[in-house]
């Protein structure tokens, strides 16, 4: 599997920034495609984001911090 960079997704029409509510997988742990990897807080609701590929998760974004849509928040090393 190729490495996949994780960017802050655009998960709502009006979304400009998002906050990582909580990582659901530890830094450096293995994830499989489709597994829920973090909670995203947008517009007072929480959605769970799936891993787009399988590999080792490298967390970059800090829980509770706000990131712009498109900003790098992590990587999955395939």
């Amino acid at each position: 599997m190729p490495n996949v960079i994780l960017r802050m997704p655009k998960a709502a029409v009006s979304m400009q920034t998002g906050v990582i509510g909580q990582w659901l997988v530890e830094d450096g742990a293995c994830v499989t495609e489709g597994q829920l990897i973090y909670e995203l807080e947008i517009e007072k609701t929480m959605v769970e984001i799936e891993a787009p590929t399988s590999g080792v998760l490298k967390q970059i974004a800090v829980t509770g911090e706000s990131y712009n849509v498109g900003e790098i928040i992590g990587e999955i090393i395939g």
């Binding site: 996949v4 960079i5 994780l6 960017r7 802050m8 997704p9 655009k10 998960a11 709502a12 029409v13 979304m15 495609e33 995203l40 947008i42 609701t45 929480m46 959605v47 984001i49 799936e50 891993a51 787009p52 590929t53 849509v69 498109g70 928040i73």
Partner: protein
């Protein structure tokens, strides 16, 4: 599998093909969501999870030539109709090699090569267009049928009802496929209707309505086969309600709190793809190896398509203005000298009213081009139209080509758009231009945009004739407006507004010939005024203004019935020794900038006059253009004369105050000359 699963067991190849299509759909849907999760793709996406079986089963029944119209939650329909995967993904990545050169995107993807004619982002709007595709196929004597796919939410919108009524009336070869996933966006079915069966709505239109288990490919194939056979054999349309359950929120990233959690859990447990997979294994139709091979192949196809899309170039800046019209020089800002119409035209000159000239022109168009047909309210004999503009034509050409319609403007314009997409030359009548308001979605979001949204792969050679009944002293606020500016503000529409019977003929023939949608305005105020009309075949190119009266002291720029007032004003001014030039724009889009700028650069003064409300009227655009282009040559600021900022009043004393007239043009002209 439901009790409807009684056919198809003997046809394992079909079932295998359905599963193969279901996994291609599921892989495409998953790949898009992976791209969105990773933040690589950023757009609103409406996943199809829970609806895979419906499109896959339909793909067994439809041929490549059959037409399909779908909606923004439509990736399953798009894949199943045969759109190449690489082109789909390239479109979603906004690439030049996408189905629509990156100009359509996920909600507006079309692929006419595979029969996918329209994907609309407007709920329910594809349904009237499907009627037109079907009508064209039937008029062309082809065996094609049309399927239009829409969600349960679309059954609440007027376009659905107008379209079903018309399809039944005309017995059109259409399958209306309602994919009932239980939610209209964020609202559950029970919260927006008391109807328990959406299929039952077909009863009201004397059309077969069928409910089918949308998770059961075998039942679906059977329902689609029946409906397709009915359509192909002249039996008319069918409404199929495929019952399914959306497996996720409305859009990617939406939370699911608006969904019934127990029902959602149950739907996920019985999701169509794994359920059908297990069925194929249990029935011995496929081995695990067969299924795994199909899954691997689908995954590879989609991954290849995503890789392809990532590496393709984005459209270059020079694509921006391409595909607005067939010819990019028709956009308003383009500076081009257009060919002038010939000075003399063939045929003897006859005196005709504007109304008679319209009738004569439509007669000529119907007689010379089999693709031309008319549709509109009351247009057939004995009525022959509310102002008799089409009198005699249905008797001469038959009701197949001069089609009276229900009072249903969305159905009329939608059907005209669909027929135009399929190669016909419809001339639709919207009786009074105020009624454009009730079909503006079809006009502005579809007719105007389909060429662009398809990257130039489809086009809408449609003419809409419409009448303004202003300043005739009897119609009041809802029949008397001049709404041309609504249309000039929508890129993709040509807007034509003639002032004489002879111009009306030459321009209407040009509109009918044109490859793009044209809105042709007629004025009741001058409808019964006679003028000379050459009886031969001649065209006035769109975008050519006409100097109706030469003059050297100022230019009066106008169009439509206001030309008559301008000519009258010019006579009054001449009596005082002022020579006014009257420039009849004739077309607002495309606009003849050259003639306007040449006239005003010569006279140095301009009055723009129109019947439409002056505030934000077309005159503002012309005035801005003149100030920008001729700043140094203008001897005084451009004056505007337009309708008062009021609804059109009924009382004649007030109506006369609302509309501009020759005296006001004279006053404006004198003010300019006094500067």
């Amino acid at each position: 599998m439901s009790e409807q699963s009684v056919v198809g067991k003997n046809d394992p190849k079909n079932l295998k093909d359905v599963f193969g299509m279901m996994v291609r759909i599921a892989e495409a849907d998953a790949a898009i969501q992976r791209g969105l999760s990773a933040g690589e793709l950023q757009f609103q996406y409406y996943p199809c999870g829970g609806q895979e079986a419906i499109a896959a089963a339909l793909s067994i029944i439809l041929s490549k030539d059959d037409y399909m119209v779908t909606t923004y939650r439509g990736i399953h329909d798009i894949v199943a109709k045969g759109t190449p995967m690489r082109e789909i993904m390239a479109e979603l990545y906004g690439r030049i090699s996408g189905t629509s050169k990156g100009k359509g995107g996920p909600m507006h993807l079309s692929d006419p090569a595979s029969g996918l004619m329209v994907t609309t982002g407007i709920v329910g709007a594809g349904i009237p267009i499907a009627n037109g595709l079907a009508l064209a196929a039937s008029m062309q004597g082809s065996n094609r049928i049309t399927t239009v796919s829409f969600g349960d939410g679309a059954t609440s919108i007027g376009a659905f009802h107008e379209a079903l009524n018309l399809a039944s009336l005309w017995q059109l070869p259409v399958i209306f496929l309602c994919q009932n996933n239980q939610y209209a966006e964020y609202t559950a079915l029970a919260d927006y209707t008391r109807s328990r069966s959406l299929a039952a709505r077909a009863d009201a239109y004397e059309m077969p309505g069928v409910q089918v288990d949308g998770n059961d490919p075998i039942a679906l194939i059977s329902a689609f086969r029946d409906a397709a056979q009915r359509a192909r054999s002249g039996g008319g349309p069918t409404l199929i309600e495929a019952l399914c359950h959306r497996l996720q929120g409305h859009a990617f990233g939406s939370d699911q709190t608006h969904m019934d959690q127990a029902a959602l859990k149950d739907a996920i447990a019985h999701a169509p793809v794994p359920t059908f997979r297990q069925y194929l294994l249990d029935e011995g139709i496929c081995t695990e190896k067969d299924l795994a091979a199909m899954e691997t192949e689908a995954r590879q196809e989609v991954e290849d398509a995503v890789d392809f899309a990532r590496n393709e170039p984005s459209p270059a800046a020079d694509e921006l203005y391409r595909d607005v019209f067939a010819d990019s020089t028709m956009i308003p800002g383009a500076s081009i000298t257009r060919p002038k119409p010939p000075d003399s035209v063939a045929g003897e000159i006859q005196t005709m009213t504007f109304c008679e000239a319209i009738n004569h022109t439509l007669d000529m168009a119907l007689g010379s081009d089999k693709r031309v047909f008319l549709m509109g309210e009351d247009i057939a004999d004995p009525a022959g139209g509310v102002v008799k503009a089409t009198f005699g034509l249905s008797t001469k050409y038959g009701l197949d080509r001069v089609r009276p319609t229900p009072i249903a403007e969305q159905a009329i314009v939608g059907a005209a758009i669909g027929a135009a997409l399929a190669g016909m030359r419809p001339v639709a009548e919207i009786m009074i231009n105020d009624f454009l308001a009730v079909c503006m979605d079809q006009v502005a979001n579809h007719a105007a945009k389909l060429r662009y949204m398809s990257g130039g792969r489809t086009n809408v050679p449609l003419t809409i004739r419409t009448l303004t009944a202003g300043n005739v002293g009897s119609f009041g606020a809802q029949h008397s407006q001049s709404l041309e500016n609504w249309l000039t503000h929508i890129p993709g529409l040509k807007v034509v507004f003639p002032s004489t019977p002879a111009d009306a003929k030459g321009l209407l023939l040009s509109c009918i010939d044109d490859e793009d949608p044209c809105i042709f305005f007629e004025s009741m105020r001058i409808y019964f005024t006679p003028g000379p009309v050459p009886t031969g075949d001649y065209r006035i190119p769109l975008g050519t203004a006409d100097i109706k009266r030469p003059g050297s002291d100022l230019s009066i720029l106008t169009y439509g019935w206001m030309v008559t007032e301008a000519l009258s004003a010019a006579e009054k001014l001449a009596a005082e020794g002022i020579e006014a030039e009257v420039v009849d724009l004739r077309c607002l889009v495309p606009l003849d900038r050259e003639t306007i700028l040449e006239s005003v650069s010569r006279t140095g003064r301009a009055v723009v006059a129109h019947a439409a409300v002056e505030f934000c009227g077309f005159g503002a655009e012309i005035a801005a253009m003149l100030h920008q282009e001729l700043h140094a040559q203008l001897k005084s600021p451009v004056a505007r004369v337009g309708g008062a900022y009021t609804p059109v009043p009924f009382a004649q004393s007030l109506e006369a105050e609302h509309f501009p007239n020759a005296s006001q043009i004279v006053s404006a002209a004198k003010t300019l000359l006094a500067d």
